[in-house]
């Protein structure tokens, strides 16, 4: 399936911004089963400098600076992606405690498993917390295959939390989301990752897009009109398995991966520092259509 993504971000400032430095995570990653056929990043006003590179996690990024005073910034990313992802077999995964044991030691060497250790620990947006471990415990019963338990946790988050774009903001702590039982895709992803890490399992944050209009007969999914976020869990012998707790689905050919990291802070679509600017407003529009 080929998809076209149009991601528009527009900042408007109440006072002129004298200088602005930005880092964009807007170009979809190249992955097995996901090919970025074309990508254009349009920036208005014209940046005074701009550079494409990879970040620590291997995600493509664009850095740019605006040196002239401006009162608005528009960033539009237009990408075409070819998706052909194989479905993972959930049936034969090891017991979750075995995975935990595999990650309990010092992790010697630099094979794929040792590298997954990157996603075992607390990160700036994701503290580890006994309350989160307790929250996850009811799905992670003794001997249960790890992927089966992840599906159960994903479904429970979906069933017992309400999608509510007004309840939280970027910096809402995971503990508060757990108490309020509401939030958006980013909160649910953080919550699930925090739960898994609190159990001792490596889990990473995936950011990207969802198909806006679903195929005929399928329901429209939450989070389709903005950038989306979900979760991947590492299982030795299987690799990374993905879960979308916002929609209780396993990401397939409707999910486009842009970047991954430990949490939102590593892969924020646009992160920047501005000089001046006063108050600012931001608008984001995302459309994803099949070609």
């Amino acid at each position: 399936m080929r998809l076209r993504i149009d991601h528009l971000t527009r900042y408007v400032y109440s006072q002129p911004v004298g200088h602005s430095s930005q880092i964009a995570h807007l170009r979809p990653r190249a992955l097995p089963g996901q090919q970025c056929v074309s990508h254009a990043l349009l920036i208005e006003p014209e940046p005074s400098s701009r550079r494409d590179c990879l970040d620590y996690f291997g995600n493509p990024i664009t850095r740019f600076d605006l040196g002239m005073p401006h009162e608005a910034l528009t960033v539009r990313a237009i990408s075409e992606v070819e998706l052909d992802r194989a479905t993972q077999d959930l049936a034969r995964s090891p017991a979750w405690e075995d995975v935990r044991t595999g990650f309990a030691g010092p992790l010697w060497g630099n094979d794929e498993q040792a590298q997954a250790g990157e996603y075992l620990f607390a990160s700036p947006y994701i503290p580890l917390d006994p309350a989160l471990r307790d929250f996850a415990a009811q799905d992670f019963v003794a001997g249960r295959p790890v992927l089966e338990a992840c599906v159960a946790l994903m479904e429970r988050i979906h069933d017992s939390f309400e999608f509510d774009p007004n309840a939280t903001h970027i910096a809402t702590p995971v503990g508060q989301v757990l108490e309020m039982r509401r939030g958006v895709c980013q909160d649910f992803a953080h919550l699930m990752i925090a739960s898994l890490r609190s159990l001792g399992l490596p889990a990473r944050y995936q950011s990207g897009y969802l198909l806006t209009e679903p195929p005929p007969g399928m329901p429209r999914l939450e989070g389709a009109d903005a950038s989306h976020a979900w979760v991947a869990v590492f299982v030795p012998g299987i690799g990374w398995a993905e879960f979308d707790p916002t929609n209780a689905v396993r990401p397939g050919n409707g999910h486009v991966t842009v970047a991954w990291g430990r949490d939102f802070g590593d892969v924020s679509p646009l992160r920047g520092v501005i000089l001046g600017g006063g108050e600012h407003g931001v608008e984001v529009e995302v459309t994803v259509r099949p070609l």
């Binding site: 004298g18 430095s21 620590y56 010092p106 992790l107 250790g117 620990f121 802070g265 931001v282």
Partner: protein
């Protein structure tokens, strides 16, 4: 030996002073003889002199937790710690090796990570560490140096061997204090310093500076090196300013720097200037809000990317705090063999990282004998001494370790050695536990070690811990002569590039210029206010109330005297103006406080003499606030304070280079005096009827009593006073003098001053010239015109201040982080 009567020998610790036999070790003999010769009385005097010098020089260590706030005086013992040459050579060689090793470890962990691939270090040790700055992985540092300045805390075990307790690799503090300790203690024992050939310290910083200049990416330009500080509230700010002065490099804050086109620039009064090297005292994660902690207001946005592109040298390299981790210590001997092919010369205190199951078991078992610390650097978890915990607390600690084993290390508790301090109360030597912080700097010829260091001694009650934060003290550290370690000296022909110093034209940071501008403005405001109060006090002491109503009006107009309801007596009003709680916000005391606040952030720019004057003012003001006072006390206080302010302004005139900073100081002073005069003349020379002029007061507070008497030889009269204070071009307290002087200074400023700052001044000067002085005061119609002119000149001063502010200082706009 009476000096040693309180110094009982011990057998369970190493004693730096006494050998096992109980006799002093040979390298202490010269000092002990000297102390004996001086006698207790001279020693008490020397100790007092040390205290005095600390106070005079303003050597402070800020303690965040101290509610009495900043600036605790530095605690320095009279006696030095002494190390013989042969022993020092062993220490220095071990520290050189360790610095070389740790630099190689950093280069690997932020580079290819072979240590992990080859099984020398476990992956999770790095992954779990919050000090591993992921954005910095892959950055190549100039010359491959990550660790430019390194410090180790070393301790001596009962058998006399030295052990490393911890490494300081991020922005090690204390070396500047060591330098200041030497300056103070060395001056107490000059003959001993010479005869023992105590190795000097200052070449160390020359070498550090030359090395930074050597590696700084500057093509062929003279490199600009800056010292980056979090600001004057930081606990070791004294040291930042001291080192900046000592090394002759500008002291800057994050907001003084900007990243443009892949390079770092200093915002100076004459525009942006490229910075080639940054010696930083800001911790890793705060250095760049764009790529590191977004909530940092201390850092420089875009700094990481400049480092990545090789545009600036950052010392130490970003992310170097990673290897302060105690988790590394257990792996270090094997890594040393692996990387350097030689054994580690000085062992680390035995440390187990709980991320390894076997090590964790050992920590759990030996907990009562260990101290448990964060594996991720100081300050994250308070160290817990297993032996001092209740069984329940110990169990709770074990549970915490089980929860997050990788976050903890267990370390053996060192039986620290003892060192003598001079006890003021006991008038004799007393033992204290001690640790030594030693320093190494990278140079093109390898690491060099500062021959000395910062000896720290514990509180008498502390058994294990030696930290300045907890109230321990410090000592000068003498490494005795012998084969001198030769340091490369900073001579012009040593092949290193010349460094731009703060004295070079145009490297004055805009914020510094702004501070100098305001320093003199507040000083002049304080001066004017104090003079007005002194004038009032003198009249009260002479029981002369005649001019009080006019003086009160002028005092209130200039925010010098409080507006009290109901009104108090003149005497009570004057005393109220001098008390912090009752004086107007902008009054004499408030302005003095502002002077002291700004002087602190200009610490690196103020010469020691000037700093001492500020210090005296501070002590005078603090002492004054403590007690109730009589009028004559108040007069004494005013006289003393004014004397110090005059000394300061004289210092500015006589000692300072005429650079842009001096220019802004002079302009600031003139603006304030112009504004004060225009208010005072309105109220006192041409007051609105029915008040009569207060001529005695006016010439008193204009410091013109003598001039008037000499010139006119009669009681003050309106015409002559007007001539002296309005239009006399030669009187530095005259109105016209301020205007003319401002116009002269403005011509000398860098760049062009916008006309809106100057035009109003020119208008006032032209109008003033239109009449002779006595005409301005000849009748009420002229007086009204003069009042209007004075009002205009006050406005002109205001407009000029704002114009300079916007034109020279304000490109520091507020910053925001978006995500």
């Amino acid at each position: 030996m009476s000096l040693l009567r309180n110094y009982s020998p011990t057998s369970d610790r190493y004693d730096e002073l006494l050998a096992a036999s109980g006799a002093p070790r040979p390298h202490w003999k010269a000092l002990l003889d000297h102390l004996q010769w001086m006698g207790p009385r001279a020693l008490q005097e020397a100790r007092d002199a040390v205290q005095r010098q600390i106070a005079e020089n303003g050597v402070t260590y800020n303690v965040y937790a101290d509610p009495r706030g900043a600036d605790r005086p530095w605690d320095l013992d009279l006696l030095p710690a002494i190390l013989p040459a042969e022993e020092w050579q062993g220490i220095a060689a071990a520290i050189r090796q360790r610095a070389t090793l740790l630099n190689a470890v950093l280069a690997d962990l932020y580079g290819p990570q072979r240590l992990i691939a080859e099984g020398q270090l476990p992956a999770s040790m790095i992954q779990a560490h919050p000090g591993f700055l992921r954005p910095c992985k892959g950055i190549e540092t100039p010359g491959g140096i990550h660790l430019h300045l390194y410090a180790a805390d070393i301790a001596r075990a009962p058998d006399g061997s030295w052990w490393v307790a911890s490494d300081r690799t991020q922005a090690p503090s204390g070396a500047g204090y060591a330098l200041e300790n030497r300056a103070i203690i060395g001056s107490q024992f000059p003959s001993l310093v010479r005869s023992l050939r105590v190795q000097p310290l200052h070449a160390f910083f020359q070498a550090l500076r030359d090395a930074l200049a050597h590696w700084a990416p500057c093509d062929d330009d003279a490199p600009l090196i800056v010292l980056l500080t979090p600001g004057s509230l930081n606990e070791t700010y004294f040291e930042h300013a001291y080192l900046a002065r000592h090394m002759g490099i500008p002291l800057v804050e994050g907001q003084d720097l900007a990243v443009r086109q892949g390079a770092v620039f200093l915002k100076t009064l004459s525009g942006l200037r490229r910075v080639h090297a940054i010696l930083r005292r800001i911790d890793d994660v705060w250095c760049d809000p764009l790529e590191l902690r977004a909530d940092s207001a201390l850092g420089v946005p875009g700094l990481v990317e400049v480092a990545r592109r090789g545009g600036v040298l950052i010392a130490n390299a970003l992310g170097s705090g990673l290897i302060e981790s105690g988790a590394l210590l257990g792996f270090l001997p094997a890594i040393c063999e692996h990387l350097l092919g030689e054994p580690l010369q000085m062992p680390s205190v035995a440390t187990w990282w709980c991320g390894e199951p076997q090590a964790r078991d050992i920590v759990m078992q030996k907990l009562p004998q260990l101290v448990v610390k964060s594996a991720h650097g100081a300050g994250i978890i308070e160290p817990a001494y297993g032996g001092g915990l209740t069984p329940e607390a110990r169990q709770a600690l074990r549970e915490k370790i089980r929860q997050q084993p990788r976050a903890y290390v267990g370390q053996e508790v060192v039986r620290l050695s003892r060192l003598p301090v001079w006890s003021h109360r006991g008038a004799a030597l007393e033992p204290r536990l001690t640790m030594l912080r030693v320093y190494a700097a990278a140079t093109p010829n390898g690491y060099i070690v500062m021959p000395g260091g910062l000896s720290r001694v514990a509180n008498p009650d502390d058994q294990h811990i030696v930290t300045i934060q907890r109230g321990g003290g410090s000592k000068d550290t003498w490494v005795l002569g012998g084969a001198q370690e030769s340091l490369p000296l900073a001579t012009p022909d040593n092949g290193y590039p010349t460094v731009i110093t703060e004295h070079d034209h145009g490297s004055l940071a805009s914020r510094t210029g702004e501070n100098m501008f305001w320093l003199s403005r507040y000083a002049e405001r304080a001066d004017c206010a104090l003079r007005l109060l002194r004038c009032g006090l003198r009249q009260q002491l002479a029981a002369d109330d005649r001019e009080w109503p006019v003086l009160l009006a002028a005092g209130q107009r200039t925010a010098t005297l409080p507006r009290l309801t109901p009104p108090l007596s003149p005497q009570a009003t004057l005393l109220a103006a001098l008390h912090e709680t009752t004086s107007p916000d902008n009054g004499a005391i408030g302005n003095l406080r502002q002077v002291l606040r700004i002087a602190r952030s200009l610490r690196d720019r103020l010469a020691p003499d000037s700093w001492r004057i500020h210090n005296r003012i501070e002590r005078l003001v603090n002492a004054w606030q403590r007690g109730p006072h009589t009028l004559s006390d108040a007069l004494e206080f005013l006289d003393q304070t004014l004397m110090l302010l005059i000394t300061l302004s004289g210092y500015t005139m006589e000692q300072m280079t005429r650079d842009a900073g001096w220019r802004f100081q002079s302009i600031g002073r003139r603006i304030e005096r112009l504004q004060f005069l225009s208010l005072a003349l309105q109220e006192m020379l041409v007051p609105e009827p029915p008040h009569a002029p207060a001529l005695n007061s006016l010439i008193d507070l204009s410091d013109s009593v003598l001039t008037y008497r000499r010139r006119y030889q009669r009681a003050p009269e309106l015409g002559p006073v007007a001539e002296l204070l309005l239009t006399d071009h030669d009187n530095p307290r005259a109105f016209v003098y301020q205007l003319q002087s401002l116009l002269d200074h403005l011509q000398q400023l860098p760049g062009d001053v916008p006309p809106q700052g100057i035009d109003a001044l020119l208008t006032v000067v032209a109008a003033l010239r239109g009449r002779r002085a006595e005409e301005w005061v000849s009748d009420e119609a002229h007086a009204t015109a003069l009042r209007e002119l004075l009002r205009q000149s006050w406005q002109a001063g205001n407009a000029l201040g704002n114009t300079l502010q916007n034109h020279y200082f304000s490109h520091v706009a507020p910053r925001a982080t978006l995500s």
